[in-house]
Amino acid sequence: MVEKSVHEINKKIEDGSVNVVTAEEMVGIVENLGVEGAAREVDVVTTGTFGAMCSSGLMLNLGHSEPPIKIQKVWFNNVEAYSGLAAVDAYLGAAQISDTRGIQYGGAHVIEDLLRGKEIDVHATSYGTDCYPRKVLDTTITLNDLNEAVLLNPRNAYQKYAAATNSSKRILNTYMGELLPNFGNVTYSGAGVLSPLSNDPSYETIGMGTRIFMGGAQGYIIGNGTQHSPSGGFGTLMLKGNLKEMNPDYLRAASFTGYGTTLYMGIGIPIPILNEKLAASTAVRDVDIMTSVLDYAVGSRDKPVIKQVNYADLRSGSVQIDGKDVPTSSLSSFKNARKIANELKEWVKHGNFFVSMPVERICCEGSAKSMKQTQAVPLVKDVMSDFIVTIKKNQTVQDAAKKIWENSFNHLAVISDTGELVGILTAWDISKAVAENRFDSVESVMTKKVLTCAPNEPVDLAARRLDRYGVSAMPVIDAQRQVLGIITSDNISKLLARRY
């Protein structure tokens, strides 16, 4: 039985005799020496991760102006921060986007610009009080001008993350990057073998108060992250660190096309090897860490699992889906994760960083809940018109014109003899056929590619589709392609009018 204390390890760090390796190196050491031998040999294992962490932000204090202002709303380079706090405190979220530049520039970019020493324009407004009479404020600041600039990240360092793919026929722009149609690629995130939480999944040394590497500086874990779901292997951490001490190599703003801004954070956590159990858990390999590939074509919270993979599969460059080799892309940087684990290793080796025990354990069981929704999500079947005029595909254009005229209805659903939807015909299609002097069957003039929706689809998804393709109505069909009704932009605007 090996048993060491953090105190003993820190003594070794102090006298320079500490043996520290990265989590990648630990895999081979445990293979060679066995768990007990490795636990005896190795004192500290360093981990690292560098990836998109949207739930990050900067808590800052501007100092008081003259005359003073109690800031009610504040913008940094046109990115709004939350200031419902004391007079000149604000919290700037990484994912907040610029009022003027949209998703090109956001809170993350302001944070990186501050770190790079750039000047930032501040605009603030208030209602004015006896003690804080000022109502408007404009100034320009740099990082040095702030009293405090503390990164306070509610959810960082995900233990692992589900990979993404796309079964649909169009490109999807997501926070998992550009997903190509027909399972054209798979994207993933996470450092696998180097992932901090995958190396101490029972939270023995990673807990509240643990000192860590954060953005190139020393930071701290202040608790479990939001949405912490350790039971499924999706633990998260809440972190704090001083922006003024950080290094832009380990903190980068990013913008995902069609999605928004985020902050790439570099995090490294040292794991003191106190016993065999920790030696064993830090020997975790890419192949041991399983995750799912989810289909982002489904715009719902519960996305279908396409398959289970491990990080070795993902990092091999391709995974098989339906017998096809699909290329993978990492969104996080393994090279930088490794750089962080190595840098932290050097810090410990040279006595510049001491390991710590948590002052309180983070819970290692449980899962995050889904949102409680008291208002039912309206479904297509709740708002569609069940009155829809149909026409058989072999009827004539004249019949169609008559139907439209009789029913004063703009869309005719064209159906086969067995009642399946085969096309749609609008008044416009008919005018066009008449103008071109074509009076053949409905089939030859109808639009064959019809956008449809299902009765149990949420209205919001149907509305997004109508919007994207610029059409005003979609037939609602069941699994047998039988027409049930039609949903129009009119139906939707009426619903929205009720909602707001």
Binding site: G177, R252, Y264, P327, T328, S329, S330, S333, K335, R338
Partner: protein
């Protein structure tokens, strides 16, 4: 060198490419071809020394020929070597080296622009 051959609608029914190849005897290595009833676009590789001749042959038949000489450019300062660009590039321009650094083989680039939208760090641009 890589060239892009665009065939306008009114010429799409003529065997422009075959005729040009037969006339000049110059081989075109066609890498990408998007042809439908309304428009054609091909990306091909051709020897530098034979470019002028094949260009004349193609253009005399109504095609438009452009040299793809502004391949993708990566800003190494902005790039964090995540590898997001790897899976969206149809020409396999990007790959990881053994240290998980990003290798860029610009010569293969056909300037489609897919990777530019993918890069979260705005590190990619065409031609610089």
């Amino acid at each position: 060198m890589k060239i892009k051959i665009s065939i306008p609608t009114e010429r799409i029914h003529n065997p422009i490419i075959s005729e040009s190849i037969i006339e000049t005897g110059i081989l075109l290595n066609i890498m990408v071809a998007n042809i439908d009833s309304t428009y054609g676009e091909l990306i091909a590789d051709v020897k530098d020394s034979r470019f002028d001749k094949i260009k004349n042959a193609l253009e005399s038949r109504g095609a438009i020929v452009a040299i793809l000489d502004r391949p993708i450019h990566r800003d190494e300062e902005e790039c964090v070597e995540c590898g997001a660009c790897i899976s969206v590039c149809p020409m396999k321009v990007y790959a990881f080296d053994e240290t998980w650094g990003l290798c860029v083989d610009e010569k293969k680039c056909i300037q489609c622009g897919m990777c530019i939208k993918m890069c979260p760090h705005g590190a990619l641009k065409l031609g610089e």
